[in-house]
Structure formats: structure tokens, C-alpha cells
């Protein structure tokens, strides 16, 4: 059952030191910047973060890394033109990096949410990112065995929520949100708007409410969308 949190601070208040957190977004598109900044203010540390990247510029995930709260990051593409906070922490040996090919990252998160114990993927076979992993030839093709990635919390950004916790997303900001929502003990979604039950056409729900524990509309939300897109 979904709870509507009054503030982003309340939404993340129970995230403890040492938690593993799935963080939505591809760069800043779909990144739950306000939830992450509430987490910076909240003070939890020693976190393991799962995200496609390792922060951009000064906001959101970059701010969390800059504040020294992230012990380890699991991602596919840390190195970007504006990932200087990660770069500095990494070179200082202050942050651990587990590099995962982007599709394996998404599929491992899906597997956690879908109750799949492990799966054979062709991606990464014969590369350094498959070292030490079980390989198998199936039907003439080589595969690597990959394990699920689950987490204590997922912080995601969606577009509209209804009071049943159903979510829609906007354009390519959808990216990791729907799979991450399925793979955490507690999923927290920041959204632009909460509508009553029935306010989202059941055919167009992307994340069913069963995967969502808390929804919050950030006070500072400045959504880029046009109203007619809702």
C-alpha cells in the first residue's frame, strides 16, 4: 500500500547508514535529484549506490558522492565530462567501483524483482568484465552467468502517480525507474503530480502500485513538461 510522503526529507528519513540503494536515471534524465539531496541533508553514510552513472555536475547523486556518503557504486558508465566528484573520490581511493555492462545492469535488477536466481547473458563474454564468472555454451553461443542486484531502497523519478501508487514516466526519463521499482524492499518515487485512483488509464500504467511504497511531490519540483503531456 502506498503512502504519500509530505516532504522529500520524510520520504528518505529511515534510510540507514550502510543501505544499498537503487537510484533511477540516465545522467540527469529520470534522476530523483530532490530525493538524493534530501538524503544528503539526512546524513546517511556508507551507502552502496546502483545507478547507470556516477553523478553529473553538482546536483543529486554527484552531491551525495561529494558529501562522502557513498562507499561503493555499481554502474556502467562512471566517467563523464561532468563526473568530477566521482573522479576525485575514485582516484583518492575513497569509493569502490563495480563496473557492469549497461544491459546486464538492467537485467540483473530485473532478475531481482522477478525472482530469477541467475541468468546466462551473452554480454561481456570473453571480456575482462566476465572474469571469474561461470560461462556456458548454449546452442552454439557463449554466455556468462549473472546474479540479481537487489536493494534495500529504490529512489526513482516518475511523472504522474495515482493514489494506488501506479506510475507513469516521461519520454527517456523512464529508463531504469520501472525495473528498479521492482527490486527494492522499499521503493520511493518522486513525481510531478498525484492524481486520484482512476486518474491514470489502467492500460497506460507503466509501474503498477504494488511496486511502490512511498510517493512524494518535491516542494521545489520544476518539471520541464508541458501540461498537455500528462
Amino acid at each position: 500500500m502506498v503512502a504519500i510522503s509530505p516532504t522529500v526529507e520524510a520520504a528518505v528519513a529511515d534510510i540507514p547508514d550502510g543501505a544499498t540503494i537503487l537510484v533511477g536515471g540516465f545522467g540527469t534524465a529520470g534522476q530523483p535529484v530532490e530525493l538524493l539531496e534530501a538524503l544528503v541533508r539526512g546524513g546517511a553514510s556508507g551507502l552502496t549506490i546502483v545507478n547507470n552513472n556516477a553523478g553529473n555536475g553538482e546536483v543529486g547523486l554527484a552531491a551525495l558522492i561529494a558529501a562522502g556518503r557513498v562507499r561503493k557504486i555499481i554502474c556502467s558508465f562512471p566517467r563523464q565530462h561532468d563526473s568530477h566528484h566521482f573522479d576525485a573520490a575514485y582516484r583518492a581511493g575513497a569509493i569502490e567501483l563495480e563496473l557492469v555492462p549497461q544491459g546486464n545492469l538492467a537485467e540483473r535488477i530485473r532478475a531481482a524483482g522477478a525472482g530469477i536466481g541467475a541468468f546466462f547473458t551473452p554480454t561481456g563474454y570473453g571480456t575482462p568484465l566476465a572474469e571469474g564468472k561461470e560461462v556456458r555454451e548454449i546452442d552454439g553461443r557463449h554466455y556468462v552467468l549473472e546474479l540479481p542486484i537487489r536493494a534495500d531502497f529504490a529512489l526513482i523519478k516518475a511523472h504522474v502517480a495515482d493514489e494506488a501508487g501506479n506510475l507513469t514516466y516521461r519520454k527517456t526519463a523512464r529508463n531504469f525507474g520501472p525495473v528498479m521499482a521492482t527490486a527494492a524492499t522499499t521503493t520511493i518515487a518522486q513525481v510531478s503530480q498525484v492524481v486520484p485512483r482512476g486518474g491514470i488509464d489502467p492500460e497506460n500504467v507503466v509501474t503498477p502500485g504494488i511496486f511502490v511504497d512511498r510517493v512524494v511531490v518535491p516542494a521545489t519540483a520544476t518539471e520541464p513538461h508541458h501540461e498537455e503531456d500528462q
Binding site: 525472482g115 540479481p148 521492482t182 502500485g209
Partner: protein
């Protein structure tokens, strides 16, 4: 005992209570199917996501109060299923797992089969309620195949439901028509799932399958001693249980 969920228990849904808020009536005889459905319904926490199997378990929905906030899942791709459709509501594209036309409640959602079973297998459903041929003292379930050589086997979603939900409840008559207990030491029929059942609701008693054995939470119109005579496995009476009179 329940299988380990792939995702730990959802803190937003209260744990299934170990004992009923209100002691069951321990009246004058075995419970009817409808009264038993009411007992199950009372044990479903507010806000839970629930899948009710075909047959007797479907009756449970009649006893969920409107303010229960319980969301019904049907494995053919829907959350927020409403009551059976009647008259003009009937739409052949909107059916439940038993292929009966149903309705849609506000806040419903549709999804495809792989997503629907991922939802179950991933441990997101709080409870599923299933019928059974037999349940073992370890919580093994047999409900899909009698093993008869001339039977056409059909499994449907039973194995996925049994192993996927956080708690699997069984509803059944305790005894076969021949008077044999369907709660057994070891299932004689082909299994649906291993160690997946957490509770067994029957016309004569409610049984909790716990790691150290089977506990009787309440009885209906039968004494604990007489119940023990019917069931060929060791039973313990729960603390505070109110056994019915024989």
C-alpha cells in the same frame, strides 16, 4: 513455512497476524465454505496484495470489507480486479484466471504475462490462497495432479503462485470423502511446490505450518484431542487458542 521471498518483506504492509484479532467462533460444528472464507478474509492485512485461486478461495473476496484496501491480482495480467461482471459489464477481454468475466476497479493496471508472473515470482504478492489435494507437515503442496494415469495433466499458474507469494494459504476440507486427512506427513500426489504453504484453513481447524511443526490456531466444532485423532501428524495447540467443543 513460507519460501524466502526474493525481495524482503514490504514494511508498508503489516505482517500477517499470528493470531486472529477476534477469536473464531468455536460453535457447534464444522465451518461451511462461506464461514471459512470469512476466517481467511479476517487474516488478510489492510492494504495487502492478494491472489485468490480458482474455486473455494474466490469466496474470500466476498468477505473483504470495502475499507480493507486489499488489491486483488489475477495472474492473467491485472491488479485491481473487481467483482464478477454481470449484464452489460461482461467484456470477453476482461476475465480472471478462471476465465470468468470480471470488472475493473479504480486504480487498476494491466500488464503482460511475463510481467505478471515476475510480480508473483519476485515475492511482491503478500498472500495467495489456493485449494489443495494434500498439504504436508513441511508445507509441501499438492494441488495440480492426482497422478492418475489417464488424467490429462494441467498445471496453469499453480506452481508459480505457490512458490511466489510471500505467504501461501491453503483452503480445503480437512478430510477426503473417504475420511482421510488431507494434511499429511508426506504428500502422496505429485507436488506443486516444496515447503511453500504457511497456513491451512479447513472446515475443522486452522493450522499454522511452522519450522518446528504444525500448530493448531483454532478448531471449529471439534476438540483438539479429537482433531489429533484425525490427523496423522504431531500437532501442537497454539498458546491462547480457543478449541471448539466436539
Amino acid at each position: 513455512m513460507s519460501t524466502l521471498p526474493a525481495v524482503p518483506a514490504d514494511p508498508a504492509v503489516p505482517a500477517v497476524p499470528a493470531a486472529p484479532a477476534v477469536p473464531a467462533s468455536s460453535g457447534s460444528g464444522p465451518l461451511g465454505r462461506d464461514a471459512l472464507a470469512a476466517v481467511v478474509a479476517r487474516d488478510i492485512p489492510i492494504g495487502a496484495y492478494v491472489n485468490l485461486g480458482i474455486g473455494q478461495p474466490t469466496l474470500v473476496s466476498n468477505h473483504l470489507p470495502p475499507d480493507s484496501g486489499v488489491t486483488l491480482h489475477t495472474e492473467n495480467g491485472m491488479l485491481g480486479m473487481g467483482p464478477e461482471a454481470t449484464g452489460d459489464e461482461v467484456d470477453p477481454d476482461l476475465i480472471n484466471a478462471g476465465k470468468i468475466p470480471v470488472t475493473e476497479l479504480p486504480g487498476a493496471s494491466y500488464f503482460h504475462h511475463a510481467d505478471s508472473f515476475a510480480m508473483m515470482r519476485g515475492g511482491h504478492l503478500d498472500i495467495c490462497v489456493l485449494g489443495a489435494y494434500q498439504v504436508s507437515q513441511a508445507g509441501d503442496l499438492a494441488n495440480w495432479h492426482t497422478g492418475a494415469p489417464d488424467a490429462i495433466p494441467a498445471v496453469g499458474g499453480a506452481m508459480d503462485l505457490a512458490t511466489g507469494a510471500r505467504d501461501t494459504f491453503v483452503m480445503m476440507n480437512l478430510l477426503t470423502r473417504e475420511g482421510e486427512s488431507k494434511l499429511v506427513e508426506r504428500c502422496r500426489y505429485p507436488l506443486t511446490g516444496v515447503a511453500c504453504v504457511s497456513r491451512v484453513y479447513t472446515d475443522l481447524a486452522v493450522f499454522l505450518i511452522e519450522p518446528d511443526g504444525v500448530v493448531v490456531r483454532e478448531t471449529f466444532g471439534i476438540s483438539f484431542e479429537d482433531l489429533c485423532d484425525l490427523v496423522p501428524i504431531p500437532l501442537r495447540l497454539a498458546e491462547g487458542a480457543r478449541p471448539g467443543s466436539a
